[in-house]
Amino acid sequence: MRRWIAWMTLLAIAMQLQVGSAADLSNPLKLMFVADAEDNIIDVVDLDTREAVARIETKYPVDDLVATPYAPVLVYTNIEHKLVSLYDLKEQRLAMEVTLPMTPRHMVLDTSGSKIGFSDSVDGGFVLFSAYGGSIIFELEDFPPSRDVLFDPNEIEIFYSNSATGSIGMIDTNLRQRIEMQVADTPGQALSAPSRSLDGRYVYVANEDTGEVYSLNAFSKVVYRSFRVGDAPARPYTTPEGAFLYMMDKASGRFLSVEQNRFEQYVDTKIGPGIDLVTVGRFDRMNLLMSTENSAYYLFDNIRRAVVDAGAFEHTPLDSLGSVDGRTAFVAFRHSPTVAFVDLERGAIEYVAATENGAGAFAIGLSNNVCH
């Protein structure tokens, strides 16, 4: 009997392995990657079938991850060991590990999917990394503490915010030099990570201390307009098809929308407190507004200029992404081993199982969220 059970167990393991290896992970455009918040695993979810099709085991907990859209490469980091790992999705094996000279607390993939900018909002430091080559293109040792950096569409300039000096900075990747422009009235005011318009012409940053959002002409490097949003402005958000700039006040729940071409106000309303996550649907019409502080969500229609649906997720969101066709929003949760698939046009929510303990980070092969 024991032998029979042992054989059956072996058979089951073999079948499991067979199933695992049968999953084709070579096209990241069809996949979502969800890193467990506690265990050393990344679950791979097929966006079409909406089920986990593979599990990648990692050496260390994964703090952040990105998938290059046009090559089967998954890049994930571990802050404690300053480690960047490149996983070959086609061969389904760890291809390379690189120890960085700084802590990769923030990781941003550029528009083409070939370069990654690492920054650290605690100790500072910057590394521009080749996502395909797995090598450091260059590093800036004296780089100030900064949150997510921002690639311009030409991938020549990289913007960042420096709260210590109250400045917006710009790294010239050709010269490997940086310049800074002070935007806050006094140094030390907390600045959000920058965002930009689709064409990179305008760069936006929120001053979390004064409640202002500054708009810069990225070419002239001049703050030509500032918006007073509220006491706790979230990072500004620009819509995927370039129509709007969104500014949210987490304290009052104010939602301020400005049409980006003419900079004329489109919507100014109160929706709900804590909103700091946005995912936008096709035609820049439907918007899923969420918070990393509570579980409420709102579906805002840019044609009606009103909330058309609202509710609450089962848990508080960690982060959200939009599908490349703009029909679905994906929402990961820190305390739930599920990812929500939200139909942006119908408002329907489907929870898909992923991870064991909840998400620590997640990414999809290609999102419509390209410039925050």
Binding site: P153, D199, K221
Partner: protein, 459 residues
Amino acid sequence: MSHGSHSPALHLPNPLKLGLLALAGVAIASSWLVFPYFVQGQQLLRGVGDESRMMKGETVAQYLTRELVKTPNLEITATFASDEYFQYVDRARIVGNLRPDRNMIFFVSETVHTGELPADPPHATLRVGEATYEPALADGPTNVEHHRLSVFSFPKLDANGDPIDFESAGRMRLYVSSPYLGSPSPITFAGGWDAPYSLPEELKSRADITPVAALALGAGLLSSVLTPCLLQLVVMFGGIIAGFSTVPGKEGIDVQRMTPIIRRKVMQIAFAFVLGFTLLYVLAGALIGAIGHQAQLVFAEYSRLVAVASGVIVILLGLWVGFRGTRELACRVPNRVEMHSLSIKDIAGTALASMGYALGCTACFGGAIVATLIVYVGAIGSAMIGASIMLTFAVGVAIPFLLAAFYISKMDSILSALARHARTLSYASMVVIIAFGLILITDNFHTVSDMIYPYLGLN
């Protein structure tokens, strides 16, 4: 190659050869796909957009500039560099902490043609109503000879920190003083701006796009945002050519008699197809040009409705092609006049199917067109500009389609196959056309493109 009308007997080639010939036709019809390989669409759009914005920037700068004095010896201009100025005008040399959101900024340009400018930059004051304000920042080069550009910044808050009401004063004047032309004492010149100080609507919505720029934008669109949608148009084109250009008949049809008719019909059908989608795209372009950003929301509002309506039209035409295939037209039609009148109905049906499908196409990617043109070019400004951009785009797609039709019309083997297998091809076409109608109705527009696209090596 010999023409069917001159050859004594037509023999069908083997299926492999026929398949290769047909494949060549498909390749020709799809040849617009070379655009993404050879033209960097996004860069082209960005380049044209930069050019257009530069022209607009010059217009805006001109509108905000006043000529304080213009003599043969001395020229002084002042530009009110408002927040809108910096929104539209790129000035690479003005890297600094100018804050037009908090200050009234003026650039003063001085030029002398004889002698030298005063060593120091001029003194400037701003008068609003009865109040006069001194600049918080005055900066310009010293000891220049003939030309100097200085900048003056006046806070929008008064000494008490209260906002200065520039608008209600109705007018503001900038006074510029310096000992010009060797004068022992300062000479003062003034320039005025009338409230409201914001740019007029006509200027804000205007886009400066030259005809060449419109051509480039059309090519840019073809190379970037629209190509996945158009892949399906090729399949649709093949279905319609096979379905409408044939003349169904019994087995043993007189192929030699039918081939010249089919040859003519292939070209007629191709022209009708091209005309249909060109007309539709030009109309869509005119709409986008006329209402700009609002078109994006119009597409968002009505895209499903339009897609369903287009799908119904396409399905009805598919059914017609199938129904048409059941009739014994070749035996019934006795002469070329009737053949010709028959083709007019087919041509109208083709144009309608093409328009219907292009309409569904536009409902799908219309928002992307609006976004692309607005993001890269700014406000489109006029129906004419929008229409001309989309005309260029449509012509870029149309030419390969017409070339493919011309190629087919010269291939006797294909024409013979069309004649011999008219009924089968009609049914096959019906299936293809109805399938695309269903794609429109079910909102699965990208399904076919997504299947084909990964194999083309395009991102």
